[in-house]
Amino acid sequence: MTAGERPRSAADVRKEVRNGARDTQATVEQALQRAFDVKAGMDGLNIFVSLDDALLREHARGAATQLADTEPGSLLGVPVAIKDNIASLHHPTTCGSRMLKGYISPYEATVVARLRAAGAVPFGKTNMDEFAMGSSTENSAYGPTLNPHQTDRTPGGSSGGSAAAVAAGIVPIALGSETGGSVRQPAAFCGVVGVKPTYGRVSRFGLVAFASSLDQVGVFGATVDDAARGLRVIAGHDPLDSTSADIPVPDYTLAGTHSVKGMVIGRPKEYFPESLDPRVRARCDAALAHLAALGAIVKDVSLPHTDLAVPVYYIVAPAEASSNLARFDGVRYGRRLPGDGLRGMYEATRTGGFGPEVTRRILLGTYVLSAGYYDAYYRKAQRVRTLIADDFGSVFGSGVDLLFTPTTPTPAFRLGAISDPYEMYMSDIFTVTANLAGVPAMSQPIGRVDGLPVGGQLIAPHFEEDRMFAAAYALERALGDEAHR
């Protein structure tokens, strides 16, 4: 395993395909070869839950011909791995669950359609925690994905497969999804860039819902530019998603030319607690020093309701999940297990189809929505959620342009190291806030601790991804090799 080897960037791939140096078939072939070389399969890193070589070669041929007579897209020839909870044609969409084993969607997600329209080739489906519930990809029905940097470590989750696919150099871009940090946390653990856009920035149509008011499709990139290119293609209003925003999408790749001089970057004290791993703290401080050296103004700020974010998240998200996952009932598609009568069939199907973490969250969500408990839990959690969002509103309203924090309290933990669900939930402590508030956030590599990547997080006001990318490009340039050392 050649950990840390940098993959070809999306921009390079596109340039080569466009000027005829290579074609899409060659780029797909190279990605397949790389997947083979790094042992991405089930008996290796276990990155993909489905990857059909023959199908991909066929698609690559189709893509090359189709684009010959049209304006080449901005991701021409770029293979993009897709998380297994995003509906795509041909490959199954199983959400890492036994419940949907073999289920092939008859329609594709808006984000996948946009990727294809831009010339990209959807490249297999990546492993994930079942229905995106987890922070280590260990909750997958297909077994855990291994971290390409150290295979005894988790890649994080729930989009662990997508993060690992980029980290292993198979693809420059991958799609993930976020509900409480499921892109940023694995990006940090795998040493890649992970972006969670503003809620409403990217269509959720075709993203299998976990918690609808928090879910957002996110992008992994080997570099800031890869992520910016990916997001630019998938972002924008979709009439099929009533929660998608009709706000123009700027060209995020131009943010690389913007300066951070005079930009005010807040350092929220709640994200730098006493208990923070001092080596992680040191990496963050170094990154902030780089930004300051570029002319940014670093300012200590406070988001006082941060400690309430995880408890609020674990009421709101399971509540919505308990409803969203009701459709997996064995009646129309997916798994059906026989039982005594209708009720027996429901019980057998859902008991047999869902793993323990999904079951736990459905039970939790059902409980907090029950008559008599709704006010005490769900309604109250929504009120506190408003306070958390208001924290960001006040900080950004006080002249702060961006926030910088560690993405996670620690680098990637060992596979199997965390068995207590609550301890696992706490690994999302720095990421769930952005989902609850709906603001965009991203993680990028800012160095290593004991050979394991550390992620630094930028958080921006609603729909200010552009500003976030400007700082990310600048920081990436300033860090240079230090980001991966």
Partner: protein
Amino acid sequence: MTAPTMDALLANWEMVVGLEVHCQLKTNSKAFCGCSAAYGGQPNTNVCPVCLALPGALPVLNGRAVELATTAALALNCTVHPVSVFARKNYFYPDLPKGYQISQFDQPLATGGHVDIGRRADSSPIRIGVTRVHMEEDAGKSVHDRYPGVTAIDLNRSGVPLIEIVSEPDMRSAEEAGAYLRVLKQILEYMDVSDDSMEEGSLRVDANVSARRRGETALGTKTEVKNMNSFSGVERALEVEWIRQVGVLEAGGTVQQQTMLWDGAAQQVRPSRTKEGSHDYRYFPEPDLPPLVLAIDWIAKMRHDLPELPADRRARFAKDYGLGEYDVDLITANPRLADYYESVARAHGDPKAAANWVMGDVLAQLKTTGQDITTFRVRPQDLAGLLNLMRDGVVTHTAARQVFARMVATGDAPAQIAEREGLVKVNDDGQLAGWLDEVIAEHPAEVERFRAGEKKLQGVLIGAMMKKSRGRADAKQIGAMIAKRLTSNE
């Protein structure tokens, strides 16, 4: 012991009824996707990822459904709220593909309306409060009797837009419940928001009923009665269930809050197997849809543009056309007939004559063929043309009937038919005298008896004249002619 009569029970007990009416909105497409909302069709053909609840599909609200729901709510005198919120009603059932129904819960589209369903003896209106009107989607259909041993699911209806109209418990008899339903149906028809066919499931009624001793003000324990498929079925079910409740109460028992199912064939109610209260729908705001925000101006415009309400039209017809209450009620029973009548009356100019023809020949014809006025071949301007021909003495009343029959059959203009079929009135005295000569010759006995003083036999002779003229002679004119000829010849 014989069963007590309603009247005997009503002496001591009062019925309290509130109704929940589900009405399918008349949209082309479903509430949250682009599939056709048409009734029927091969099972599971009007479906897509959204109404099949495939993983990842999302709802998008149908704007037309919002317009129709708003129109209905305004017609029921409700306050339409600028902000209402969709909510998920969670329960498992095979024909509910998402495992929840998108509905509205604590912030419905509209609240606080009323409808008047008639007048009491003291002429005060019987006013039924409308608690709320909210939007929701329909479920699919479970088909239990199609295949032996299995239940089949048809999701064509899944996601069809509905409004639920919830009344206050303001009705005091089954008749009042029936009257409320008929008034409601008429209003919805006038607003053109629904097809209102109970058979096709566009209008469904659940009834809450309780009994209390006369004089008491607190409500008794209610039961919910479901599964009625006609308005008269609702009335009958309410009576049967109420009698059951009174029986329980008179025996010293207590009514259990539960759902009762009406068995129309057996004319009985029986408890549903699902226990009331065991359902916890776990309502919460639908996160896939933003709150429904309606501009105040838009609501005001919808109110301004509301079609004429049945009561307004009745008042106007009585005033403008001088029609009696019975005629008005008959003609305004449905808006399409009222439109038809009004077109005829305006084109012809004599509203009474128009009313007589519409209520007589037109309704009789529709009843015979089971046709709807909107597809009736005789268009209003042609019926008015026929009335004009009569008024102007071009055709007789008898010939007009024949012309009308031809109009029904062919759709041709009346003047054209009268001309073609030779039904124009004969005013030629020579021709008439010739026919009379023949009639006298052919009816010697009747002529004899008429001359002897049996004046009623004139009718037979006029009939014979009409037959000869094929209705083209004016009855009055030939009556006078007969009288003159047969008396002057003496």
